[in-house]
Amino acid sequence: MTEEQNPEQVILTKLKDSFYNSADFVAKPISWWDNEVAILCFYSSIVNKADVERIMYFFKEHLRDDNMYWGESIYTSVIPLDEKQLAKFLCDGETIIVRLKTREMIRINLPEMAYRQTDEPASEHVLQGSREGLVENFDVNISLIRKRVKSHRLVVKQKTIGYETNTTVYYLYMEQLVDEEALQLVEERLDKIKVDLFYSTGQLTDYMEDSVWSPFPQLLKTERPDRIIASLHEGKIAILSDLSTTAIIGPTSFFSFYQTPDDFNGRAVTGSFYRILRIFSFIIAIFLPAFYIAIVSFHFEILPLELSNQIKSDIENIPYRPILEAVILEMTIELIREASIRLPTSVGQTIGIVGGLVIGDAIVSAGLVSNMMIIIVAFTAISSYVVPSTEMNSSIRFLRFPFMILAAFFGFIGIAFGAIILLIHLLNLTSLKRPYLTPIIPFNPKAIFKIFIRMPFFKPSKHPKSFSPNEDGKS
């Protein structure tokens, strides 16, 4: 140890120590104006070094601190030295120059974090229209949205969550259109999140949802900016984070899960037809296997006589009860699905063929499952994948199992009771304290019509509002 240490050396050591000598942390003395010594520090992994260098050069050569606001520009600002904040800024990817003489920090905000190019969202394919999807970067995401809504009423607010991860969460809404109560609720709930590690949208949804244990998703997740702006215009709030490509939208109604941008990109008549088809698919996906099980174990008299022979010859030599048969097949399909998601695309197709053709064929010849059951389960599986939202898709695929069990125990009566319970649950469910099953409850005949029919764009003169607590009955 030398007795005479430069003050900058002391600070440098202290600084490096407080960053635990991290390999990518750089802190070094530089000469600033008039032989003044400053300390430059940044995380080399998250800073755009070339641009920072250019700005530093400009500062040194062309600026002096005798002007007011000399350090303020798009990327830079000057604030008094504050060690706590210093760490935070550095972690955000800023480059800081500490002027020891004036005890000032020059912040150069030019982070370069890794992110993807925008890409078509894999889970929300459309036939026509925009193919842009969100990425894992705030600026890109907001610019994708801003370019669609060129209005100053689009408000972006942010909140930092996670004591360790310091993740920034953004929520967007349209001023004057937004559902104020829901907005308040979102803010309250965001404030309540007290965790160390915050890394996934799933975490966020759990905190934001009204009933976490409901099988139904109460917040719409999307990766499509066009979907986000459509929702914002209905007075909804979108929550994004830097970590994930998924935006969470609320308050949402059940039926918005069954809409896709394709409805609006295409023509009104065909759009309406597919919308009705999708709602029909919901019923099929939940009830069809249960319905079949109820028929073959309780109410076979409702089969037409011509069909009954076929079915009878099909199931006569199956050793198991229909419920077991169905569970075997449903499980097979779920396994195939799960396997093909985890595997790379090329292998995934192979699995599809092996699962679909080989198992399907072999399972029938082996006499484990009847042909009829294959038809039913396959039809159901296809129906359940019609839903545009992956979340809702998993919900309804899960829901068919309780119904199958009810049907196996109690026949049609069981299904009826199950359906009643399901309906009551849906009626009780809320999304950010707004009714989930709107417009059925609260009843709004005009809006119900819109669930099934995609109205032409020129028709609605009023602003579409899914939730209008103050205007109940007026619209």
């Binding site: 174990s297 076979f300 006589l305 009878k312 006569e316």
Partner: protein, 343 residues
Amino acid sequence: MLAGCWDERLYKDHTVVSLVGIEGTYGEMKSYFAYPELQSGNSEITIIEANGIDVRDTRLNADLKVEQAMDLSMMSTILISETTAKDGLNKYLNVFYRDPTNSITAFLVLVEGNVKDYMEASKSWTTEAGEYFARFIRSKEEVSIVPNRTIQTAAAILYSDGMDLVLPYMVLKDKDKKRPELGGVGLFSKGKYTGRVLKPEQSRFLGLLLQERGRKIKYSTLYNERPLSFTILDVNRKWKFESPNTMKMDYELEVELEEFSDVGLRDVNKISELENFINKKITDEVNEVIEILQDEKCDALGLGNFLRVKNPQMFDDNWHETFANLEIQVDIKSEILKTGLIH
């Protein structure tokens, strides 16, 4: 009916009977049950024959001869022999009303001669045994030759004093005994078969008188030595008791000409001439049918029920006698709405 797992009826454990035949009277009943049995992929119709004291007994006995549980929930036709029907149909059908899983939309069909022959004939058809008869009856219903009478609708009539049942009547005339044909409709009086059969060409006017909705009555005759075919599209009726012994029935028919090769049909006079001809022709036919009904004391039209509503004091247990002596005046007014494609 509540179903729980304790009520489970697995389809694979049940034999679905589509055609049932009953013959004989109490004490010596005989029932036949036709069901498809699977033999290496093909289904073949098997007929189970069982004796017993009554229908229920025969059914229980038949169950002993099948390896699976016999189930009548998909039965679509019951064949009834003439002897059984003459003894009064009500008591024999009783069992079919009591079992909650029973099909009550099955058609009732009277058959001439041995029921067994009809059951055996079903083996040669590709259609399901019961469905063959059901389709047969349904297609004849369309043209109004037989009225719609199933176990359910027959019950209402059998238990009513003011109306009598008519049932399709089938005969097996061909040599091979494979193709039953419609012999007409059998007339009942007070729940018992009278033995008299209305021929198909007459029975369609029964449909007209009953004003069965959605039925089309086709009719062909000669007019001035030219063929004249027409369809009665719709019927409006008005019944009225003029005096205790006189009944007035006004019918308005909407007629479509199917075939009439005569020039000058666009002439309004010609059309009203034709209308008059049709009126007369149909009035004659209808009167003939009513005469037969009165002869057999078969109130197939439900005049008794009509009287009961309008003049309750006049209705008594002796209704069938009153009906036989009733003076029924029929007035037919037809209107030609369409004149066909080719004039």
